[in-house]
């Protein structure tokens, strides 16, 4: 009979709940040690792809139609934009700074792109933060939060968009 790791039930639950498992989590090493097994397990059981990175692990779904990821990308893009406009280095801030829930809400509302927020789930600010806290993309602690390494996935998305755009510009030229 297949011998499952002791943490198997917990691993499956966390990942199916859409959580990112971070490097600091004990489960990270267990998954990494059984990478082939879990890739196979999630693919054949749920048609999900296990994505194992150096700093986090998560599941990808081919059939996702939800809007929450789009909303988070918008939120991050807006925040980075505002930080740059304030003369701060957005990357250092996202990587290391502690953000205050009310201050960030204020910043987003003072943005000239505020109307975007009104058309997304970001407007239910606390709920929005709680959801992404449960996913381990931010670490919410009372009235403040920090971004975890999982945020790099969204930076990677932005880099891909930029490269695609640059490629198109070159093609036009």
């Amino acid at each position: 009979m297949q011998a499952y790791p002791n943490e198997h039930k917990e691993i499956v639950k966390e990942l199916l709940d859409g959580k990112f498992i971070l490097y600091s989590d004990n489960l990270f090493q267990v998954i990494q040690d059984n990478k082939d097994f879990y890739e196979d397990f999630f693919y054949h059981s749920f048609d999900y792809n296990l994505d194992v990175r150096s700093e986090f692990i998560f599941l990808r779904s081919k059939a996702t139609t939800e809007r929450d990821t789009r909303d988070f990308t918008i939120f991050l893009a807006l925040l980075c934009r505002e930080l740059e406009l304030e003369g701060k280095k957005f990357r250092e801030q996202i990587d290391f700074a502690t953000f205050y829930v009310d201050d960030v809400w204020q910043t987003l509302n003072n943005s000239t792109k505020k109307e975007i927020i009104d058309s997304t789930g970001i407007k239910e600010w606390r709920n929005f933060l709680n959801r992404w806290n449960r996913k381990n993309v931010i670490s919410l602690n009372g009235n403040s939060f920090k971004f975890t390494k999982a945020v790099n996935l969204f930076f990677e998305f932005a880099v891909n968009v930029a490269n695609e755009k640059l490629k198109n510009q070159i093609t036009v030229v």
Partner: protein, 401 residues
């Protein structure tokens, strides 16, 4: 004809603005078109022939244009601190030259030849180090200028292109030239030169050559340290810095385009990360059968059942008041009416409860009896269902009767 140094320096001082203008116009490829040259010469009252023949600042090209002399170009770059960055190929050529001269030095037997090669080797090493230093400084300075904040996507595009170009075309090839792991890298050649010169400075019989080898040894030793420092600057500072500038600019640019078109398909040329969202699986419960049975029970048509009320076991016997009234009449006067009732009922051997007791005790209200209460004198009567505290009552036959 030899150039008169004093005249050159005097000219450069007297016509400083003109020289700067000339340098700026020649910056791209060290050449200037004839009409441009004539124009600026006229404006600054300078004779073209002086520039070409006397001072040899410019030389005429076959196509009629003019080219800035290499020595002047280098000197003016130094003066204005504006160096044209050399292509890595130029550095490769210098690196090859060092190796070639070193091979010749090792094969040379003639003293004057040895001396010439040592001088040549020292010069080319110095030149190489100077170029590398200039190169790194330039890259660092330009990288700093890239760090400044940008607003538009066009600026970001330029910044990404510039950073990519520097990384791919300058830093990576330079790293290859300086890479220690390559057998033919400059750093290994310089180490060999240093070891060779060190050995020769002891073995050489000629004092002059000994001195020259000693100088070469120290020069090569310093070059080794210098190159290592430059490598550190390139690999530990410049490359990560440029990489970060490039990535950060890409992130900003990507987000810029995404925010710009998040509400139409164009914003999704690259799909957003397709994450899994919590979904509950509902397998059959192990107690589902019990739960279903319970649920269905609600809909089962039940047959009508009648339950007959049971006759309550209530002792409906009440004492015959007339009988006790007669008995009371016969016993008058009674000095403790309530006690009398109690005793009289107990004689009947019945279960004495409050109801039965009250039926007899109520005789006190009959008109034919007069009652005299001794309120302070109370006593207890224990019935089957209750304990009564009652006053002592003297009962007499009514006078009115």
């Amino acid at each position: 004809m030899r150039t008169n140094a004093k005249r050159v320096l005097n000219f450069l001082t007297a016509n400083f603005d003109f020289v700067k203008l000339l340098f700026d116009l020649c910056k791209e490829d060290s050449t200037i078109r004839t009409e441009e040259l004539i124009k600026i010469c006229n404006e600054h009252d300078v004779n073209t022939a002086t520039l070409v023949t006397d001072l040899r600042i410019l030389r005429e090209l076959p196509n009629g244009n003019y080219k800035l002399h290499k020595n002047y170009s280098d000197f003016l770059q130094f003066l204005f601190d504006e160096y044209a960055i050399s292509l890595p190929e130029a550095l490769t050529a210098m690196s090859n030259a060092i190796e070639e001269i070193f091979t010749k030095l090792r094969g040379a037997t003639d003293k004057s030849q040895i001396s010439t090669y040592i001088v040549g080797l020292n010069n080319v090493i110095d030149d190489f180090l100077e170029r590398i230093d200039r190169y790194t400084q330039n890259l660092l300075r330009d990288t700093e200028s890239l760090k400044s904040s940008v607003e538009s996507a066009t600026d970001l595009t330029l910044r990404i292109r510039k950073a990519t170009f520097w990384i791919e075309e300058f830093i990576k090839p330079l790293n290859t030239i300086l890479d220690k792991s390559q057998t033919k890298s400059i750093i290994n050649t310089i180490s060999l030169i240093s070891a060779y010169a060190n050995q020769r400075k002891f073995e050489e019989e000629d004092a002059n050559l000994r001195r020259q080898f000693s100088k070469l040894y120290f020069n090569a030793l310093n070059a080794d340290l210098d190159i290592n420092q430059q490598i550190k600057k390139l690999t530990r500072e410049l490359l990560p810095l440029l990489d970060r500038i490039k990535t950060n600019s890409q992130i900003q640019m990507g987000f810029y385009y995404f925010l710009d078109s998040y509400d139409n398909p164009e914003g999704y040329i690259v799909p957003v990360p397709n994450l899994v969202f919590a979904s509950r699986q509902y397998p059959c419960s192990t107690i589902f059968e019990k739960e279903v049975t319970m649920f269905l029970e609600h809909f089962r048509e039940s047959t009508k059942t009648f339950i007959e009320d049971e006759v309550p076991e209530i002792d409906q016997w009440l004492p015959d008041t007339e009988f006790f009234k007669e008995k009371l009449r016969n016993n008058l006067p009674v000095d403790n009416f309530y006690d009398w009732c109690y005793q009289a009922l107990n004689e009947e051997e019945i279960k004495l409860d409050m109801m039965k007791y009250s039926a007899i005790a109520n005789l006190i209200f009959e008109k034919e009896f007069d009652a005299e209460f001794e309120i302070e004198n109370r006593f207890k009567l224990e019935l089957d269902d209750v304990i009564l505290t009652v006053p002592k009552v003297n009962l007499y036959a009514s006078i009115s009767k």
